[in-house]
Amino acid sequence: MKVVARVTVVLLLLLALIVVGCVGVEWRMFKIPDLPYSYDALEPMIDKETMTIHHTKHHQAYATKVNEVLSELNLTTTETTDEIHSQYLLENWEAIIPNLNLEGNKQTKLKNNLGGYDNHCRFWKMLRTSTPNNRPQPGTELSDLITSRFGSFEAFQTQFKDAALNVFGSGWTWLVSNSTRHLNIISTYNQVSPLVHRSYPLLGIDLWEHAYYLQYQNRRAEYIDSFWAVANWHYAQQQLSSTPQSHTVDLHPDR
């Protein structure tokens, strides 16, 4: 009997360790990445002062506030400077958050600022120095999918611009892919990430006023028009290629 009891205890301990190992999340402190170009590289479409403040103040503030919450939880051991970790957290938010014992307002603070951190990590890569006639390379998968989904590149641009003009308050408009390579234009409010809707961001435009006010003031339409010259279609294609694939039929492609 004693042996049985001892073995049971050991097995139970092993089970506990496995369970903790499976549900355990590795937490890291967030550090903002450097821009892939200099602060004036997107001129005249996006001015140097905006890029500087947007990166060193706004993006930094999102990282700082996430870290404030994580510090209180005493969970972090290492640092991360890219969106791989934030993506994981955002995609698995519903499963992760109950284990954290965070009060409501801290949960909100964490979610808002995690979204802000993640969105901006991607945004810098979704932009590139200005190119005339900027569009996805013909013959690429992205180019073909845009044509088949929206009718033409110009039709896509019109729809994207309409969506971006329609965002009321702070938010983003995105070109996203779902796991069955179905493209969509969606808008998210504040710093909500498309990832929480299982949509993978290929390109996005930040429509918070801080993203354009110094140069464009209320003229959001002009800012959106200038975006086309600096959109990084190469990055968007890369993101499409690395979108997680689902082999199940998507019954709701327009969600």
Binding site: I53, K57, H58, A61, T108, N112, F168, G169, S170, G171, Y189, N190, Q191, W208, E209, H210, Y213, L214, Q217, N218
Partner: protein, 247 residues
């Protein structure tokens, strides 16, 4: 359900001298609606310097406030609304009686949203200009006055109220407003609303408000929102706030 309840309460409220749902009748729902025209500012564009810069005041009034009026009117015209008004009486009527007004019209979902957002924006800004005044030192509600007493009753002291208001303002994520309001029970409180939502929708009377959309401060303050909030205390119009009590 909550909105409908609010609407009924607004009509039957026994709050002192309440004329909250001014003009709610069973006659045509357009009887109390006119097209929106933005009012003039009660002061020059540079009058709030150095707290709020001239360029911001100009853009804020002639572009942003104007755009809310223009877009709300695009929808109102489809409802055959006639006449023009440059006060917030009409927008207040619409916001307070939203459910009953729109139930009498068949507006598409996008147009409903467009009207609500922009009527809110129009209304909020009509009040905002009056809630500000040229800067003065030691700017506070009159000591011993009704508003001062209500503030002390609710927050303990004027300084504690300021801290609550400032903290709420710092905490608004995205676009929105912080307000000092008077509730139906006569007491005051600090509330925030997202985007262009109005405290009127919750049965609260706005006494003072601070626009926290980035367009309200970005040219001068950029990301430094706390500095903008600090400057607000020098230009808050306590006379207006006092006048709005018990309305």
């Amino acid at each position: 359900m909550r909105r409908a309840t609010r609407c009924v309460l607004a009509v039957t409220s026994r709050r002192r001298n309440l004329t909250f749902s001014r003009g709610l009748t069973t006659a045509s729902s357009n009887a109390n609606l006119r097209l929106f025209k933005i009012p003039e500012l009660p002061y020059a564009y540079n009058a709030l310097e150095p707290a709020v810069d001239q360029e911001t005041m100009k853009l804020h009034h002639t572009k942003h406030h104007q755009a809310y009026a223009t877009k709300a009117n695009e929808v109102l015209k489809e409802l055959n609304v006639q006449g023009e008004s440059n006060s917030e009486k009409d927008s207040e009527y619409l916001l307070v009686n939203w459910d009953s007004v729109i139930s009498q019209h068949k507006l598409s979902k996008p147009n409903l949203k467009k009207l609500k957002n922009n009527a809110g924006g129009f209304d909020n800004h009509c009040r905002f200009w009056k809630m500000l005044r040229p800067p003065r030192q030691q700017n506070a509600p009159q000591q011993g006055g009704e508003l001062s007493n209500l503030i002390n009753e609710k927050f303990g002291s004027f300084q504690e109220f300021q801290k609550k208001f400032s903290d709420s303002s710092v905490g608004v994520f995205g676009s929105g407003w912080t307000w000092l309001v008077q509730n139906a029970d006569g007491k005051v409180d600090v509330v925030t609303t997202p985007n262009q939502d109005s405290p009127l929708e919750d049965g609260a009377r706005p006494l003072l408000g601070l626009d926290l959309w980035e367009h309200a401060y970005y040219l001068k303050y950029q990301n430094k929102r706390p500095e903008y909030i600090e400057s607000f205390w020098t230009i808050a119009n306590w006379d207006y706030a006092q006048q709005q009590l018990n309305k």
